[in-house]
């Protein structure tokens, strides 16, 4: 008996039309983007020698303005802690309102909409608004990060509550407990470990994000960094970047340690 001597693997796509359609769409997209992107490729090519030049100017990192650097770092860390603290607190009502197995439908929709909107816009945009209202400085930054924090933690919280087995809620409801007691006995024990874990993660993330809001003047080390770039003070920039990376690294280390400890 003779056997076939060719074989092709079955395609991911059901029909060859779909496959060629997708392939041509992808190629078409690349051509389209190449053409429409107003990229100054000359300038970009010049970027390579410029990059070399900048890196040369970055080394050695200039830590001489130590006190300025530390002030920025301190401010960022304070912002991160403050934002996490208040973010954790505000996340509770927001998260509770966004869980469809806990609150009536209209409340749920408002909660979800609130979460959605606060998550849509990048924190820089939010930061700009807070700067407009409250002026330059770390207050705007803290408020921005509070919004980012409670929307993040709140979403996790809502998902956690919705993923609960209905039996747990039912059991406490069946005892005739009022809503606050329901929260305390049914919800709180279930969500507490994850809530704390997520909050600690968020603390670490806030340190990272505090660098960004500074770019629009909302305080923290980001402001110092943006200023150094605009002054072409690249040695200082590298010093700041190294500090930021180390800070995040330490923060992540602590975050993992504490979360492991809690387990």
């Amino acid at each position: 008996m003779s056997y076939p001597d060719t074989w092709k693997p079955p395609s991911f796509f059901r029909s060859p039309y779909v496959r060629y359609g997708v392939m041509s769409a992808v190629i078409g997209y690349f051509v389209f983007s190449w053409l429409t992107l107003e990229a100054d490729w000359n300038r970009a090519l010049q970027g390579i020698p410029r990059a070399v030049d900048i890196f040369q100017r970055m080394f050695p990192p200039d830590f001489s303005r130590w006190s300025l650097l530390m002030r920025g770092v301190l401010e960022s860390v304070q912002m991160a802690f403050a934002a996490s603290f208040f973010g954790m607190i505000f996340a509770i009502p927001v998260g509770l309102c966004a869980a469809n197995n806990l609150v009536p439908k209209p409340v749920y929709f408002v909660g979800r909409a609130f979460l959605g909107i606060s998550r849509t816009f990048h924190e820089i945009i939010v930061a700009i608004f807070f700067v407009k209202i409250f002026g330059f400085g770390p207050l705007a930054g803290v408020l921005t990060l509070i919004v980012a924090s409670f929307s993040f933690i709140g979403k996790m919280l809502a998902e956690d509550i919705e993923n609960m087995k209905p039996g747990k809620l039912e059991a406490i409801k069946a005892t005739g407990a009022s809503f606050p007691k329901l929260l305390n006995y049914a919800i709180q024990p279930h969500i507490l470990p994850r809530y704390i874990g997520v909050s600690i993660y968020r603390l670490d993330a806030n340190i990272r994000h505090s660098t960004v809001v500074g770019i629009v003047g909302a305080g923290g080390i980001g402001q110092t960094l943006a200023a150094s770039f605009s002054r072409y003070d690249y040695g200082f920039s590298l010093a700041i970047l190294i500090t930021i990376v180390s800070l995040v690294f330490i923060g992540e280390f602590f975050s993992k340690w504490i979360r492991g400890y809690l387990r």
Binding site: Y29, S33, T36, L37, E38, A39, D40, W41, R43, A44, Q46, G47, R50, A51, I54, L74, E75, V77, Q78, M79, A80, F81, A82, F85, F86, I117, T120, F121, H122, I124, I125, I128, F129, K132, I133, F134, G135, G137, P138, L139, V142, R208, H209, T211, V212, I215, V216, G222, L225, A226, F229, Y234, S237, L241, I244, V245, L247, V248, F249, E252
Partner: protein, 270 residues
């Protein structure tokens, strides 16, 4: 049994926490409160701002509504540019992330040195926000979308690479053993033994990051790295709040669509 009989039989008082645990809890609470107060202390909060903040916000809102819709024509191109930055940046990331992820996974890396380098690249990439990368790349490549694409890629490598490395470390070793036993070389082992196992994670993560990158790309213009951020920045500085409203609404729409796509495709994959 009456209450007093019960109390005699079971004289133990149930407390949820031992005295030691209670003490620890209160100490922890005290520390947290202390940190909270300390963190806010330096902020120099102009409390009177809070008083009229709602007035300011209300004023802002009235200036934004109704949105100045004709302005939309000006933002179509920047919006498309934003999408390009996000998409091309993500594509760029995919190419770069494979070697980094392979280096960062203990079971596929060559030696401790390469593992350390891989992890170092991932941590550095993750520690610096896209916009901050934007500062650097604008200085290198000048203002424009090229800087934006590189910034998106620079940040995404850390995100995508970390998740892929974790997935690689969790694969079934038996499969790799079997492929190794056929006499395959290292590349073939990666291709046939490792890659198919982590494929769903790779695809899911890439699409997830693409969605996040769209949000990030909207603000890259603030540092000059292209996209709608430039328009947004100028409109805000010109106090043209009704134009700002149009921009924000369009951003909201774009993000909504991309999130929907992202969720849809990811649910098909897993």
């Amino acid at each position: 049994m009456t209450r007093s009989e019960l109390q005699q039989k079971y004289p133990f008082i149930w407390k949820r926490f031992t005295p030691a645990q209670t003490l620890t809890r209160y100490v922890v609470y005290a520390i947290i409160v202390f940190i909270a107060v300390w963190s806010v202390s330096n902020l120099d909060i102009p409390w009177f701002y809070f008083l009229d903040a709602h007035v300011q916000a209300g004023d802002l809102l009235t200036r934004m509504i109704p949105p100045y819709w004709p302005f939309f024509v000006n933002i179509v191109d920047p919006l498309i540019e934003t999408l390009h930055i996000a998409t091309l940046g993500t594509v760029f990331t995919v190419v770069l992330t494979f070697p980094v992820a392979i280096m960062s996974a203990r079971n596929t890396t060559l030696n401790r040195f390469t593992w350390f380098i891989g992890r170092f690249i991932l941590v550095t990439s993750r520690s610096v926000n896209t916009v901050v990368w934007g500062l650097l790349f604008v200085a290198i490549f000048g203002p424009g979308p090229v800087a934006g694409i590189f910034s998106v890629a620079a940040r995404s490598i850390g995100f995508v690479g970390k998740l892929i490395a974790e997935a690689i470390e969790e694969i079934d070793h038996g499969t790799v053993e079997a492929i190794e036993a056929t006499g395959a070389n290292k590349l073939q082992i990666l291709l046939i033994g490792v890659l198919p196992q982590v494929m769903p994670v790779i695809l899911g993560t890439i699409i997830y990051r693409w969605d996040i990158n769209i949000r990030e790309s909207t603000v890259l213009g603030f540092v000059g790295a292209g996209g709608i951020g430039i328009v947004l920045y100028s409109s805000i500085n010109l106090f043209s709040w009704d134009e700002v409203a149009v921009i924000l609404i369009s951003i909201f729409g774009v993000v909504l669509v991309s999130e929907y796509l992202s969720i849809k495709v990811r649910s098909r994959i897993t």
